[in-house]
Amino acid sequence: MLEKKNVESDIIVSVQNLKMYFPITSGIIFQRHVGDIKAVDGVSFDIQRGETLGLVGESGCGKSTTGRAILQLYRPTDGTVNFEGSELTDLKGGELRKMRRHIQMIFQDPYASLNPRMTVGSIVGEPLEVHRLASGKARKERVRELLDIVGLNPYFINRYPHEFSGGQRQRIGIARALAVEPAFIVCDEPISALDVSIQAQVINLLEELQERMGLTYLFIAHDLAVVRHISDRIAVMYLGKLVELTGRAELYAQPMHPYTQALLSAVPLPDPLAEMEREKKRVILQGDVPSPSNPPQGCNFCTRCPSLERAKQEKGIDCHTVEPEFREVESGHWVACHLY
């Protein structure tokens, strides 16, 4: 795992200062623009070829929006997304469609992301048609091959999505993404809708495929244990901003940001004895995530942060007014907090 990172250091996707605001309008005929929901508010990171970057955070923190804005499924408000040297935010129409051959997405909900009126064959075969990669007999052959790759019986080609279970549907979604032989795949919570015993099957499949085809993943999830398992590096997001980004071992051994620390300590372990120990040290955050339409002044975590006093005493900084910079405090360990 770690070797892979060291050997290859070429960057496949580079995101700089990505912002995605959704306008809030008021009025019936004249839609006045009265504010913005700052779903993603200035996010920067690089993804290296062949690695899996995990993106974690709670619901509403903007992690899915980040994934979609990278793929240009939403046109970002500001910022750049560079994929293998070409600037995606500048591409339009046909050029963008051509580029999508190389970047694909696997969606969260295997029930909503497959057209119920199309057969498995036409769902998986459609990208081949759109990108004119194969037609007729060759296409059918390729679809069978793809189904086989994701562990489905090629004999299912003429069935409809409702005939499959959640885990099998997710495999169909993966086959569709693989059809165009992409280099980079955004996996948007691909296992959250699945049962525990099925989740492991899909995680194993994704890892096998990565090894076999040299894929790069942006793996979006809220389950920290799963992200630890699958990722090489992990980025933690809170209220539209990255708060911490580092290698997976470092993140779990030495979380720096108070939010990361609280998040890790909130995850229960399947081990009653260890839980008794952790119980005593558990950090329980008070309150809820603030609204992204009206984020707090200063550090966006200041409304729930247990370390405000410490920052004031040690650094003399008032977190309610000064926004921390997202910077590299140790080699490869980025954090946005005044404490470091």
């Binding site: 562990g151 489905l152 049962d195 015993s197 099925i198 779990y252 372990l269 009653p272 839980e275 809820d288």
Partner: protein
């Protein structure tokens, strides 16, 4: 001392157009006073239907409690009249559900919904009920409860709504709280808040809890006794430490092995349980886990195993002793040629 709740051979089926769905197939367990029991299982394992049957909240038809006995405080809940069971629901037995968004009435204020139960079961007048409601909201940690009591559900966040549901559940000092995946729809940091709250309240009020979940991690620090369900049956039942340290059913073993863990590195390839849960309409003749089991032997195909004692309060339904047995097959599901 007799247990608070004693469930015997509870069986619930649904009569649908496609056939009889055998959702719960003869489960037996007991809950002592003040005890917390965790029930884990995947979707379709019968864990929710099992507890909904306890208080007869199964839509009939199509559902029907076919067999069984549910003794609560010496009364069989399954033989009570409609009015008698209604006096127990929400009173001595309280429930909180998975989705706090849909289990609250959007057109009534929070205060109205909580005080309804208090007025009905405890016979308080409007003013007493209102004061009691404010007390309850403070108990579950809602800030400025006296003002928030007149708010509507949409003015609360998900975590806050679940607190309201808990306040409602606790309004009549229940002896038993049934929590059906109460934190599944919530974020981890909010989940930690709710679990912490329930633990505190358990100590203050001394109620027994049945906590249903699919998350093996969540109940590890909460329950004293664990029940694992699969295909409408209890496959394993044990004190909490025993279940995690010394699982005796191949399904429990598989579940624990397939979880990525926060505190340790798992081998790159997770052990996964192949295949799918059983079809509850064409229910398998033998062991429900047969098709996915790495340890299966010939006997498992036609003889369903019974729950039997294997240790102190540790029961398991399996023909094989997983502690000594070896895998008999590497890819059980492939033989069925269904993948």
């Amino acid at each position: 001392m007799a247990p608070l709740l004693d469930v015997n051979n509870l069986t619930t089926h649904f009569y649908t157009q496609d056939g009889v769905v055998k959702a719960v197939n003869g489960i037996s367990y007991s809950v002592d006073e003040g005890e917390t029991v965790g029930i884990v299982g995947e979707s379709g394992s019968g864990k929710s239907v099992g507890v909904m049957s306890l208080v007869r909240l199964i839509p009939t038809p199509p559902g029907k409690i076919v067999d069984g006995q549910v003794m609560f405080n010496g009364q069989d809940l399954l033989t009570l009249s409609k009015n008698e069971i209604r006096a127990i629901r929400g009173n001595k037995v309280a429930m909180i559900f998975q989705d706090p968004m849909t289990s609250l009435n959007p057109v009534l204020t929070i205060g109205r919904q909580i005080s309804e139960a208090v007025e009905l079961h405890l016979g308080m007048d409007k003013k007493q009920a209102r004061n009691r409601t404010i007390e309850l909201l403070e108990l579950v940690g809602i800030p400025s409860a006296a003002d928030r009591i007149d708010n509507y559900p949409h003015q609360f966040s998900g975590g806050m709504r679940q607190r309201v549901m808990i306040a409602m559940g606790l309004s009549c000092n229940p002896q038993l709280l049934i929590a059906d995946e109460p934190t599944t729809a919530l974020d981890v940091t909010i989940q930690a808040q709710i679990v912490d709250l329930v633990k505190r309240l358990r100590e203050e009020i001394g109620m027994a809890i049945i906590w249903i979940t699919h998350d093996l991690g969540l109940v590890a620090g909460l329950a004293q006794k664990m029940i694992v369900m699969y295909g409408g049956n209890i496959v394993e039942q044990a004190p909490v430490v025993d279940l995690y340290k010394n699982p005796r059913h191949p399904y429990t073993l598989g579940l624990l092995a397939s979880l990525p863990r926060l505190d340790e590195d798992r081998p790159k390839k997770l052990l996964s349980i192949e295949g799918l849960p059983p079809d509850l309409v064409n229910y398998p003749q033998g062991c429900p886990f047969y098709a996915r089991c790495n340890y299966r032997i010939d006997k498992c195909a036609d003889t369903p195993p019974q729950l039997k004692e294997v240790g102190v309060k540790h029961k398991v339904a399996c023909h094989v002793d997983v502690q000594t047995a070896k895998w008999t097959t590497e890819h059980p599901y492939e033989e069925f040629n269904l993948m």
